[in-house]
Each structure stands twice: as structure tokens, then as C-alpha cells.
Amino acid sequence: MFRACRAYLYLLPAAGILMLFHLLPFLAVVWISLYKNWGTQDAFRTGFANYGEILKSGEFFYSLGITLWYAVGTMPITIVLSLVFAVILRRKMRGGTFYRVVYFLPYITSTVAAAAVWKWIFHVDQRGLANSLLMSIGWGPFRFTEESRGIFELMFGHSLPLLGSGPSLALVSVMIFSVWQTFGFYVIIFSAGLGQITKEVYEAAALDGAGPCRIFFSITVPLMRPIVGFLLVISSISAFQTFNQIYIMAPGERLRSARNLTMYIVTQFWEFGRIDRASAAAVLLFIILAVLTAVQLGFYRKKD
């Protein structure tokens, strides 16, 4: 009995903090979302009115659409690129360690500082590196992080309603940043996965006369499917959570064309003081992410 008490004592510090700063605020956010004007004199319970308001105003769906554009624009390219690089690195190339170190560097770098650098690279006139390079081949200048028009509109000249013009160039700039920052992390994850495939599998395939392309598509890609699934889930979760790079790179667009769900919640609170609406949006965000996280935990379980 005494030992059991001691075990509970060991759990106490973590339990206290997790309860106070994770579980309690979660219950609070659900609670607050059911009130109108929460925190003011004339607060009253409204049931799901805040949810109705958000869903009807269309702003929530607009943010959801932006989040989806962001996810669609960053995930496939990062996953394909990093898988190709991990496969090349598996060949025990000279300088492999050096490349791995360099690829991983953006991932550990502060998002605020790195986003400031990319903002400078994407500067609106020819002083910016990106514009000066593009202008040397006769393109641009582009307004990059300040451009609210969608990229399809910029390409084809037609504006389409309901985000049909594609993600704004401002959002695309943030997306390029995100690909840059997560690429190396994905390479390491894929390298670890590839390391688990035994040499015999490849040797047998080579003996059967399969070329490098065939081996890649018939052996490597299917075996990497669980890792691709895992990366798809964590990167779609982070598409919803992205904040720092939008805040720093596209301050002018963060209330408009670069306003993903987290930015929507934060701005409802900061700019409009609407704690009730922000909370309802946060609960909706939770529901979306809970589904994605459940999928992620499924991947962990499969691995165990």
C-alpha cells in the first residue's frame, strides 16, 4: 500500500501540470463556447449559437479552405522530394553525413528568424533575391508576401470566387518556407524507414532483373506506405496549427488570404475580442484534429 502511494506521488507533478494547463482549459474552451459575450457583464448561455454564427458567416469555411490549400500545396511536394533524397542518400554516397546535416538545419532553426530571412528573400521589389533572379529572366517583379490574389488568377488573369483562384501568392510564399523547413525532417524519417528494409530484398529484386526505377516503385514505395501515412497526418495537423511563419512573413495578409484556422482563432480573440467565437472555432479545430490524431495514433499502434 505504501508503495502504491509512492507511485502516485511520482505521478503528481506531471498530473498537476497536465490537468491545470491541458485538461482544465480544454473543458473551459468547450464551456465558454456555449456562452455569448463570455467574460463581460451580459454573458448568457446560448447553446450552440456561436457555432451557428461561425458556420453561417462563411469566415470559418474560408479559413478551412485556406488551410486545405496550404496542406495540398505543401504535403505532396515535400513527401515526394524527401523520399527521393532519402533513397539517393541510402546509396552510401560520399558526403552523405554532410548532406543530412545541411538538410536538417532548417528544421531546428527558429521559425521567427528564418521567416524573417525568407521575407527578405521575397521582398516586393528587385532588392529581394527572388525578384532579382526572376527579373533577370524577364519575370516579375512579384509582390510575393503582400500579394493577396490567387496564383491561378495571376497565371490566367481570371478571378474565381470561393478560393477558386488558388492560394494567394502570399500564402504560397509561406508554403515555400514550410517546404524548406520540414524537408530535412522528412528525409531523416524516410532514411530511418529505408534502413529497416533488408539488403536481401533489393538484391533479390536486382537478381530478378528489376531496374532502379522498377525497384523504387515496386519495392521502396509500397514499403514506405506506413511512413507516408504518418507524415501525411502530422503535416496536415501542422497545416492547421501553422502560425509563426504566417505572422512574420505575411503580416498584411494574415487577416485575409493567409488566415488559416489557428490564425482565425487568434484574430477573433485579439482583433475582435470575441472570446466566445474564438472558443467555438477552437472546439471545431479540436474535432478536426482529433480525427487526424486518432489516425496518427493508429500508426503508432501498428508499429508497436
Partner: protein, 277 residues
Amino acid sequence: MKIRKGMFNLFLHLVLLAGAVFCALPFFWMISTSLKTSPEVNLTVPQFLPQKAQWSNYPQAIFRAATIGVPFIRCFANSALVALAVTLGVLLTSVLTAYAFGMMKFPAKNILFLLFLTPMMIPFEVTLIPNFIIIQKLGWYDSYLALVIPWTANVFSIYFLRRIFERMDRELYDAARVDGCGDFRFLWSVAVPMAKPALVTIGLYTFLGSWNAFLWPLMVTKSPQLSVIQKGLASFIQEAGTDYQLLMAAATLTILPVVLIYLAAQRWFQEGAEKMF
């Protein structure tokens, strides 16, 4: 055949090199800009390297930050202090919790463990606003406590460490207990040293995460004296205007400690990332 293979290898090297250029270019451009003069920064055709490295941009950036109310060195010290405190806190709470779940026997263990995992389902962005209100109610708004305490327990570290403690030699544990070695002593003199690689990884990632954190400090602190480095840099970005050489100097200083830690311990970082899946 041999030539074809050589060509193929060369091609692969070029691909790897292109990737390295993509990853490293922003760092190069940041440092290069930080060493330029103001006219050089404003050239319509950017030069890759400055004529002469302007090291004075660095003290000037710190000075300039001070004039807009950002005590840069103080911010640096704040970040180091907060990150260290958070790291120590996470290591302490995770070791205790993971040890209890991994090694000890007590009633309701499995249910409690599931309860401990529930915060994994609750992302920080969802609870951001009520958390802010809790901090206010505790009277911690604009204090070091607000920056440190909420982050001193981490579910992933507990989960990760528990797996390691579970796989530890039970016979050693039983023998130690027969010899009269208590749980607490066994924990510190046997279990912790054995889990050292995992602890280093958790410690490094926690420190990194805390050093790079931005949204939370932005929410819960307002006075410049309590500003962490990311928040200080963000204010500098907003108010320094177009003096990009100073901005890039400040960004370089912000990134530098983490890059140095990373280069010294890169093996641990990469192994840690591998263990995430």
C-alpha cells in the same frame, strides 16, 4: 557501362548538391546581408557578398533594438533561462512519471496511463485562450512563471521514456530491491543513467522547442524586460523598417546558439527524429 555508372553517380551528386543549396541558401543570404552596408542592401541587383564585411552591424543591431524598446541581450538571457528551466522541469516530471508507469505496480495503472495520454489529443492552439485566462487568474500574467510552468510536463516524453523503462531488466530491479535499495535510489542510480541517450534527446528537443517558442510568449508577456528572444526579434522586424542588414544581424544572433548546439550534437537530433516514428 562503367562510364554510364559514373555519369549516373555524378547526376545523383548534383541532385544532392541542389538540395543542399536550397536548404543552405537562406542561411548564406542572411549572413551575407548582415555584413553589408545600407547602400549595398539597397542595390537593385543584389550582390552575393559584401565588398567588405561590416561586423559593426551586429553591435549596431543591438543598439538599434534598444532604441525601439527591445533589450536584445536581456531577451537572450530570458530565453536561455526559460529554456533551461523548462528542460529541467520536463526531464524531472517525465522521469518520475515514466518510471512509475514503467517499473512500479499500483492500482488503476492502465486507466491512469490512458488518462495521461489524453492531452496528446488536445493541441496547444485549441486551449490557447482559456490557458491565457488561467494564467491571468493565477496572477501569472507577464511573469517568468507563465513562460515556464505550463511547459514543464510533456506527454510525448513520458510516453517515449516509459517504453524505455519498461524494457529495462526486471531482474536487476528485483535484486536491487532484495538488497534494500528503494525505488528512489534505483531510479537515480540505475534507471536514469541507463536511459541517458533518451534523456539527452528529450532534453535537446525540449530546449530547442522552448528557445523557438513564439505564440505563447506573445500571449502571456507584455513588458520588454520579460520578452524572450523570438518575441524581441518579432518586434524588431515590425519596427526596424527596411534596415535589412540590421534585421539579418539580429536574426543571425537568434539562430546562432541553436545552430551551435545542433552542430555539436547533431547525431542526437537525428536519432531523436528517427525515433518519432
